[in-house]
């Protein structure tokens, strides 16, 4: 094992692991906007929309990312390629169990950091 391995991150790498309050607020607001859009628009949308095979193949064949992307890009990809294709659950016309009541948001968001 090399004795010379860095004990400190380069500043830009450290920022990726140690967000400021502003970083968290910025990304948090983007995420909450996505959730609000999803939950409020879901009843107006098709109850089930299959994942297009070409999109599934793109996910399947994508290489593991070597370098990181910015959170805005990742959330935009989520909004475009993931969010529109939930497996029915949560729509009032999905009669096979499962739902996403808004109150679950409270627990789900708050449980993201503690590890009991």
């Amino acid at each position: 094992m090399p004795e010379s391995a860095a004990l400190e991150f380069a500043p830009e790498m450290r920022q990726r692991w140690d967000w400021s309050t502003d970083d968290m607020r910025h990304c948090g607001h983007l995420v909450v906007d996505l959730i609000a859009h999803h939950l409020t628009s879901l009843p107006e949308r098709p109850v089930f929309r299959p994942l297009p095979p070409e999109l599934a193949e793109r996910f399947r064949s994508a290489a593991l990312p070597l370098t990181g992307q910015d959170p805005e890009e990742i959330l935009a990809e989520f909004a475009r390629d993931v969010e529109p294709y939930p497996f029915g659950n949560g729509h009032p016309h999905a009669f096979m169990g499962g739902s996403t009541p808004p109150r679950r948001l409270l627990g789900s968001l708050l449980r993201c950091w503690p590890r009991p």
Binding site: M1, P2, E3, A5, A6, L7, E8, F9, M13, R14, R16, W17, D18, F48, P50, F59, R60, A62, A63, L64, P65, L66, T67, G68, Q69, P71, I74, E77, F78, V82, N89, G97, G98, S108
Partner: protein, 216 residues
């Protein structure tokens, strides 16, 4: 990369610890030069998991026609849960945010910090290091005056650990190595700095001296 399949952390860990694994491969695989688990993947044991958990009751039709809704295997065939939250999304997003290189750098730094802690322990005459591996260091308070009294050192270090945990300044776990009770530091937080390890060593030495002086 399939966001619906969990297990990506293994791949990230793999990338960062490959060099360490290579160095230990001869020990773990009888000298073949590579371990049987040296191939990264989203799920090493998918077939075994499906064989174990697959249960397709009549109300969950699976007709094998992949052009239809009920063609592909249900995820519920791979574990206990019938439905579950989108847990793999967290893995997918984390990998996209940090990239493999980001994880490799962070894990490499954790290992370097563990090596640094090991050097701090080695430089302290009243501490003994029992083991170091990847990001973990096992050590104990063992002043020369204890003359290797095994029972006394176990009692001293148990008391030291409990006192340290209640002091709210540092938290260690413990384990048993070769029958000895030892303190165990696992370095995995990207916000841990070298100074935090210096603080830990100082705390352990200070507490150990207090307890040993008090007759524990």
């Amino acid at each position: 990369m399939n966001p619906s399949v969990a297990g990506g952390n293994h791949a990230a860990t793999y990338a960062a610890s490959q060099r360490w694994l290579d160095g230990h491969a001869n020990r773990s695989s009888g000298g073949s030069g590579s371990t049987s688990r040296s191939k990264p993947g989203w799920c090493w044991y998918a077939t075994a998991m499906r064989d174990t958990f697959s249960l397709v009751p009549p109300y969950l039709r699976n007709d094998g026609n992949t052009d239809e809704v009920f063609g592909p295997p249900w995820f519920s065939e791979y574990g206990f849960q019938q439905t579950r939250g989108f847990r793999a999304l967290k893995v997918w997003m984390s990998l996209k945010y940090h990239g493999l290189s980001g994880y490799a750098e962070a894990i490499t730094r954790d290992i370097a910090l563990a090596e640094y802690l090991a050097r701090l322990v080695d430089a302290s005459a009243d501490l003994g290091r029992l083991a170091t591996g990847l990001n973990i260091v096992c050590f104990r308070y063992a002043p020369p005056s204890s003359h290797g009294d095994a029972a006394r050192l176990d009692a001293l270090n148990k008391m030291l650990l409990e006192t340290l945990q209640r002091r709210e300044q540092a938290f260690l776990s413990s384990t048993t190595l070769d029958g000895m009770f030892v303190l165990r530091a696992c370095i995995i937080n990207p916000r841990t700095q070298p100074g935090d390890l210096e603080c830990l060593v100082a705390l352990v030495r200070e507490l150990g001296a207090q307890l040993a002086g008090g007759g524990v």
